[in-house]
């Protein structure tokens, strides 16, 4: 399993956090621009999925896949959006993202008063914990 990168957005579309582990190709634009593009696409996919779905969509947009990578999307009820790019064969990424929200984001961002809500996360502890978490997942899922 290979995890390429992660984006965390809040409800207002602010990029709270970005990290990559295994990214071979860069988009050739600044991180801010890339984040805007990403958020715009997610927003469009979400409304597209909601409109085009023949059933009442319960969970909405979950992921998409190209022949090279898969993008997994998890949104908490509070509108925090987690976007994880992996290789295409990885399973159960949704559980992983949910766990990431619970065990890492809530514990080390929400419960850390140094982290202002709606501002990019600069906490070193969060960074370390997230990195540990992802590396652990990569190891156990191999």
């Amino acid at each position: 399993m290979s995890i390429h990168n992660i984006y965390i957005f809040d409800r207002m579309g602010t990029l709270l956090y970005y990290m990559d582990w295994n990214r071979q190709k860069n988009s050739g634009m600044s991180k801010e621009e890339e984040a805007k593009l990403m958020y715009g696409m997610l927003f469009s996919i979400k409304s597209f999925v909601a409109k085009i779905s023949p059933h009442d969509p319960k969970r909405g947009f979950l992921c998409y896949k190209t022949n090279k990578y898969a993008l997994h999307y998890y949104e908490s009820l509070t509108g925090i959006k987690f976007v994880l790019n992996t290789n295409t064969s990885v399973k159960n990424v949704r559980d992983l993202l949910q766990q990431l929200y619970k065990d890492i984001y809530v514990e080390y961002v929400v419960k850390n008063t140094e982290c202002e809500m709606g501002q990019p996360i600069v906490s070193e502890l969060f960074k370390v914990k997230l990195d540990q978490f992802i590396k652990q997942q990569v190891k156990t899922l191999q």
Partner: protein, 178 residues
């Protein structure tokens, strides 16, 4: 790191510690602002800031799904009171349209050991709860108003917290390319 090991179990603390800490905050605010209206406002603001964080903890712990109507929300709020304050308020006084209800409690842990001096009758002592409710609901895309309709501190028989649903909030639209 102790934080790691104690992470997900619910830590129980004596409610008296909480009551007294809250009392200390209110009395400090009274000293700082010397004006009941300002203190009410500050308590509401503090509550709001607590609420926007607390709701994430609540969701992470309860694995809640999105509520389909206000009654479900009311049940969740009732459960949250149990979780965070150890009391189960009654859900009463539903409005005909179903967009307003009350939480009624016989005892309020915030106001234990508390009596209001005569000249502070306008102080909304537990106003932090209103702010917390408003903050948490806002984070799950609900705009609500909360206020105390009755308060035991003011001689009423029960404490009644009234909640009114105003509207749903939507995600921000991405900024257009300029």
């Amino acid at each position: 790191m102790s934080r790691q090991s104690t992470r997900l179990d619910v830590k129980k603390v004596n409610s008296e510690l909480f009551t007294l800490t809250y009392g200390a905050i209110v009395s400090q605010l009274m000293k700082d602002y010397e004006n009941v209206e300002d203190v009410n406002k500050q308590l509401d603001r503090m509550g709001y800031n607590i609420g926007v964080r607390m709701v994430e903890d609540f969701l992470a712990r309860t694995n809640s799904a999105r509520c389909n109507d206000l009654r479900e929300t009311a049940d969740k709020i009732q459960y949250a009171f149990k979780m965070y304050l150890g009391i189960t308020p009654a859900l009463t006084n539903w409005s005909a349209a179903g967009d307003e209800f009350s939480l009624t409690f016989d005892s309020n842990p915030l106001t234990e050991f508390v009596e209001l001096p005569d000249n502070y009758q306008n102080l909304k002592y537990s106003n932090v709860l209103c702010g917390a409710l408003r903050g948490s609901c806002e984070m799950v895309q609900m705009d609500v108003s909360c206020w105390f309709a009755q308060d035991q501190l003011k001689g009423d028989l029960a404490t009644e917290l009234r909640i009114k649903f105003n509207k749903r909030l939507e995600d921000a639209i991405p900024a257009g390319e300029d």
